[in-house]
């Protein structure tokens, strides 16, 4: 009889998604991706119904027998499945990680009603949280990575590159979804260049991009998350010089609504809460094509938030 592995629970913002791993490699993969998030383990069991939680699905990552068509020689094929269907099949690569993150986040937020979930990176600079909201492709992960690295004169601590929850009545507090930085293929070379040389073997990288443990860029990981003090909307635009534009609360509100992930769960789609955030926190658009000028302009911007410039 093969060994039974525990069912791990990914816990976030009061919601849980159980994940079953059926061998050592899948368990290592799971821990690599969710090292900051897995909480309780449950006794191994073959009965998924024992793991009913707030969300509907138990996800399973398993080694799959049979054809390895499309994979490199020696690569093993794995399957991600929920209780009713196969969600993805392939090697444990960057794409597998992306699909797994999408599934976990979907199930975590599916019934979340106690706050607004926002597509946003988040970092901490001098006891202040900076939000980096944006839709896919805006550069949340890339900017989060760079600000976290020792190449930034305003070196920040990392919270997330993807998702925060703003609790209802939270008064500027955020709950980040800490995960490894998921860097798309187009930005992969830029970010791999700022990773310490001895860190290359710790990242998962292929032609789809890279998954980078955030502690490689900055081992400091804040235990307590300070309130939000600044909102930066990153926009990658090829060839553009760095432009920083202060925007009004009304404009920031409209932009925040485009990053609202769980709107359908909330009576007003989170509109009033996001307007309140935009009213109380200064917001800027940052248009960039490289990080060359970040160190010239961001220190002044960050200092302004202290009232010291």
């Amino acid at each position: 009889m093969p060994p039974l592995y525990p069912v791990y629970s990914v816990d976030f913002a009061g919601m849980s998604v159980p994940i079953r791993c059926d061998n050592r490699k899948t368990l290592e993969f799971f821990k690599f991706l969710f090292g900051d998030l897995y909480g309780s383990t449950k006794a191994p069991s073959l009965d998924t119904s024992l793991h009913a939680v707030d969300t509907a699905a138990t996800l399973t990552i398993s080694l799959t027998e049979g054809s390895t068509r499309g994979l490199s020689e020696g690569e093993e094929k794995y399957t991600l499945a929920d209780s009713s269907e196969t969600l993805f099949t392939g090697s444990l690569n960057v794409q597998f990680a992306a699909v797994l993150f999408d599934q976990v986040i979907f199930h975590l937020l599916n019934h979340l009603k106690d706050g607004v979930a926002l597509h946003s990176g988040a970092v901490v600079y001098q006891d202040k949280t900076i939000l980096l909201p944006g839709q896919s492709g805006s550069g949340k992960s890339t900017v989060s990575a760079w600000l976290t690295s020792d190449h930034s004169t305003c070196r920040c601590s990392y919270l997330t590159d993807e998702l925060v929850v703003l609790p209802k009545n939270g008064a500027g507090t955020v709950v980040p979804f800490p995960r490894p930085l998921c860097i798309k293929a187009e930005a992969s070379a830029v970010i791999r260049a700022i990773i310490p040389k001895n860190g290359e073997e710790q990242i998962l990288a292929d032609k789809q991009g890279a998954v980078v443990p955030h502690r490689l860029l900055n081992p400091d990981f804040p235990f307590l998350v300070p309130p939000v003090s600044l909102i930066l909307f990153p926009t990658y635009q090829a060839g553009s010089p760095l432009r920083i534009e202060k925007i009004s609360p009304a404009r920031a509100s409209a932009l925040l609504m485009t990053c609202d992930v769980n709107a359908r769960n909330l009576a007003d789609h989170g509109f009033r809460q996001l307007v309140q955030l935009a009213r109380s926190i200064p917001a800027y658009l940052i248009t960039y094509s490289s990080f060359a000028e970040f160190n010239k302009q961001l220190p002044d911007l960050f200092a302004q938030q202290d009232g010291s410039a």
Binding site: P249, A250, S253, A254, A263, H269, F271, V275, A278, R279
Partner: protein
């Protein structure tokens, strides 16, 4: 949309059930059914206030043109652009 001369004579109707917040004379609008959000600057906010279902684009241009006589041409362009944006985002429609 590109607004024709005939379009400017049509009444501008806002879709119902939107959420609106006015901040410092600017407006944020969100429509839950359409999941569309829109930002209107101070000029856009004025135009929004005049979209009462009775007035056409041309009527709104006339009203604001009387108030801001020195920049009537600019006002006309702004009104047409903003109403076209509202229509493009399905937050307003034009009706004979």
């Amino acid at each position: 949309m590109k607004m024709s001369h005939r379009d400017t004579k049509k009444k501008v109707l806002l879709e119902p059930d939107y959420l609106l917040e006015q901040i410092d004379n600017e407006i944020t609008v969100y429509h839950p059914t359409l999941t569309t959000s829109l930002y209107l600057n101070e000029t856009g906010g004025l135009i929004w206030e005049l979209c009462d279902g009775q007035k056409s684009t041309a009527d709104i241009i006339d009203i604001l043109g009387e108030i801001y006589q020195e920049s009537r041409q600019q006002i006309a362009e702004d009104v047409i652009n903003i109403i076209a944006r509202l229509v493009d985002n399905n937050i307003a429609r034009l009706q004979d």
